[in-house]
Amino acid sequence: MSNLLLCQGNFCTFLCPHGDDLCLNSLKDLFNRATNLSQDIYNLSSKMFKEFDKRYAQGKGYITMALNSCHTSSLPTPEDKEQAQQTHHEVLMSLILGLLRSWNDPLYHLVTEVRGMKGVPDAILSRAIEIEEENKRLLEGMEMIFGQVIPGAKETEPYPVWSGLPSLQTKDEEARHSAFYNLLHCLRRDSSKIDTYLKLLNCRIIYNNNC
């Protein structure tokens, strides 16, 4: 495998400076695993959302409340293909890391609070648990990739903090369900973003835009 040349405009760098096969193969392997994880997280969150919607949100119009409710909306994520392709891989990677980190805390509380819900279907609870676990693993993997692709990267940037715990714990059942709906809706969206960005990076870095 020839060395990976990463070009952004006129600026090109070698991904594995020493060109050794171990570095290249390990990077390919890391990306492979990361995309598998991100795809899995998306599948789980999508199913979880649909299950919740079917069971608790029919005819309630929670969607209107869910607009603009994601805590990660402050992150400057690209919103179409052209924008994403013009974003530097370093920026894209740090965005992914920021998203993953900002979901650690909400996922933890999601599991705790879902457990406490009366009559919660197992499909929702088990998926929540699995997503929390896989999110951590993906974060680890991403940090490894980040370290390899951008050696000497600066320390972690601040990430958006979630503050929706009180609304998850409120006594008002309607309000609580609405809060859950919001959280699951945002989770589905952000996991889709992470998945798409990773696949973009994978094709760009490993396969040189020739997937």
Binding site: Y42, I63, E79, D80, Q85, R189, K193, K199, L200
Partner: protein
């Protein structure tokens, strides 16, 4: 007049209204948004269903606003998507953002608006079916033939950059069959199908699905005719394998049938039944145990007279008037009598059961004699080096109550016959026994002047004591062993050990035997010791034959049953020593 005009207008209006009501005209019904779809996550189209138009020409307008924006936009393109549709081009499409879309129907009578539809383009992706489906029959040499299916990704999907990820699914069936055979192709745009039936016409279809989104429609059918002579499977090999295995099975069956029994015995040898000499099964069946035992007894099973053969024989030094070594089962010399023990040269440990003190005491006729073993070390190399590493070990009271069994511990090669150039030594008709203690004393000399030369090449002489157990001595051996070890450090201790014991036969003078030397083949030369105390001419001597050597280098002596050689040996003994090897 004016009043007339106003009322007239009102009247006409009412008339119109009435007329229109009669005609069925009304404001349009609420339209309904059916669905929105994006073929490649870069554009999307929405379709609506119009309601009743109220009898009047109705216009439809689609308006939307995006999540986080307040500005309301109208549909940019009503035409591209067909009637009652709105097409959003790349410019107007954002991913991961909610669109709130509404369609309004306007006619002369009024306006009706649909319910808003909340759309996120991410989740409405439905690609076109894959394109360029090609079917090709391939038949490479030395490999199985197959159907090679190829296709390309659908339009409007950007797979190369990674923006769009697709999975494929293919299904095929013979034309007349009802069930489809489906295959999954995760990423590649080709598939190989094996195991097709020749002479059939196959129909093939393909569809695809994005990583987040809906399955596409099935592509139009492609068909291919499999020729009749198409080799479906590599059957010739399987036929060969089948025939071969059948032949092998037949051979095996035939072999088993012919030699079944012998094969079975070869694989599973029968358990040997008990074969006890003198054991009459019939008696057992009858339940006459007494007869059975008697029958057994009549055989030589139980050591009665045979016991004597099994028992070791000892050289007995007799203090009788003859004043010569006489095999003499005289008990007065013995502390506790002597048990004749005869060991066949070829005896094995099994027979040594008679050696065991317990057996002997129980079964043998001899009174409480105890087995004594006369062990003489062999170490021909050390002949010139007569170190008296002799240790006479007095066995402590064995748990069998056998009393002391002194031992000479020796090491050396296997025993051979008694060491005299003449044929094995004579003996007296009677078994000669020798109390080892006596021998010890004889050997070591109460006065300490005897010099039984024992070669003891190394300290290991003591170690054989461990293996005394092999003779079946059991605990007794262990005790001896412990005594052996205890006395090991200082061999001189052995001397006082013996000397501490009361002489076994004190009053009577004894003739001493001197082991002169030991030859290379383990031939021991015993020499009567000239003792000034013993005023006796040289007389016939009794000699013992070394019957065997145990593993522990213990020499087992038996009297030789050739009396006629006695004199010969006597004489030769005198001459022999220098001549002995």
């Amino acid at each position: 007049m004016k009043e007339n005009a106003a009322s007239r207008v009102l009247f006409i209006l009412l008339l119109f209204l009435y007329a229109s009501l009669l005609n069925g005209q009304s404001p349009p019904e609420k339209p309904k948004l059916i669905k929105c779809r994006s073929p490649g996550k870069e554009t999307f189209t929405c379709w609506w269903e119009p309601g009743a138009d109220g009898g009047l020409p109705t216009n439809y307008t689609l308006t939307y606003h995006k999540e986080g924006e307040t500005l309301i936009h109208e549909c940019p393109d009503y035409k591209t998507g067909g009637p009652n549709s709105c097409y959003f081009s790349k410019k107007y499409t954002s991913i991961w953002k909610m669109y709130v879309i509404t369609v309004s129907a306007i006619n002369q009578m009024g306006i009706s608006s649909s319910d808003p539809l909340y759309v996120d383009v991410t989740y409405i992706v439905e690609p076109e079916p894959p394109m360029n489906l090609t079917l090709e029959l391939k038949h490479p040499e030395d490999r199985k033939p197959y159907l090679w299916i190829k296709w390309s990704p659908p339009t409007l999907t950007d797979v190369k950059s990674g923006w769009f990820s697709i999975q494929y699914e293919i299904r095929l069936k013979p034309e007349k069959a009802t069930d489809w055979e489906t295959h999954f192709a995760p990423k590649l745009t080709q598939l190989k199908i094996f195991n097709l039936y020749p002479g059939q016409k196959y129909l093939v279809q393909i569809r695809c699905k994005p990583d987040h989104g809906y399955w596409s429609e099935w592509s139009p059918e492609s068909s291919i005719q499999i020729p009749n002579d198409f080799p479906v499977k590599d059957t010739s090999m399987w036929i060969f394998v089948g025939v071969l295995s059948a032949v092998i099975c037949l051979i095996m069956v035939w072999a088993v049938a012919l030699k079944g029994y012998s094969m079975v015995t070869c694989i599973l040898p029968p358990v040997p039944g008990p074969k006890i000499k003198g054991f009459d099964i019939h008696l057992l069946e009858k339940g006459k145990s007494e007869e059975l035992l008697r029958a057994l007894e009549s055989q030589d099973f139980l050591p009665t007279s045979d016991c004597e053969d099994l028992l070791m024989e000892f050289i007995e030094v007799d203090d009788s008037e003859d004043q010569h070594l006489m095999p003499h089962p005289s008990k007065e010399h013995m502390e506790q009598g002597v048990k004749p023990m005869h060991l066949d040269p070829d005896t094995d440990s099994g027979r040594g059961s008679c050696d065991s003190p317990s057996l002997l005491s129980e079964k043998c006729d001899e009174p409480q004699a105890y087995p004594s073993k006369f062990h003489i070390p062999e170490g021909p190399e050390k002949l010139e080096n007569p170190e008296t590493n002799l240790t006479c070990l007095q066995a402590p009271q064995s748990t069998n109550g056998e009393g002391k069994i002194p031992y000479f511990l020796a090491n050396g090669p296997k025993s051979s016959t008694w060491p005299f150039p003449q044929p094995p030594s004579l003996y007296s008709p009677r078994y000669s026994y020798h109390n080892i203690a006596d021998v010890c004393e004889l050997a070591l000399g109460m006065a300490g002047t005897t010099a039984i030369l024992l070669d003891q090449t190394d300290q290991h002489a003591f170690t054989p004591s461990k293996t005394i157990e092999t003779g079946g001595e059991g605990k007794a051996a262990k005790q001896r062993e412990s005594e052996a070890y205890s006395s090991e450090p200082d061999q001189d201790m052995a001397w006082p050990l013996l000397q501490d014991k009361t002489p076994l036969f004190s009053a009577k003078p004894l003739e001493y035997v001197e082991i002169h030397k030991v030859s290379q083949d383990g031939v021991l030369a015993l020499f009567p010791k000239q003792n000034e105390k013993v005023d006796a001419p040289e007389t016939s001597k009794e000699y013992s034959k070394v019957s065997r050597m145990t593993d522990s280098n213990i020499l087992v002596l038996i009297p030789d049953l050739q009396a006629q050689n006695l004199t010969l040996l006597e004489e030769s003994a005198k001459k022999a020593p220098p001549a002995l090897p």
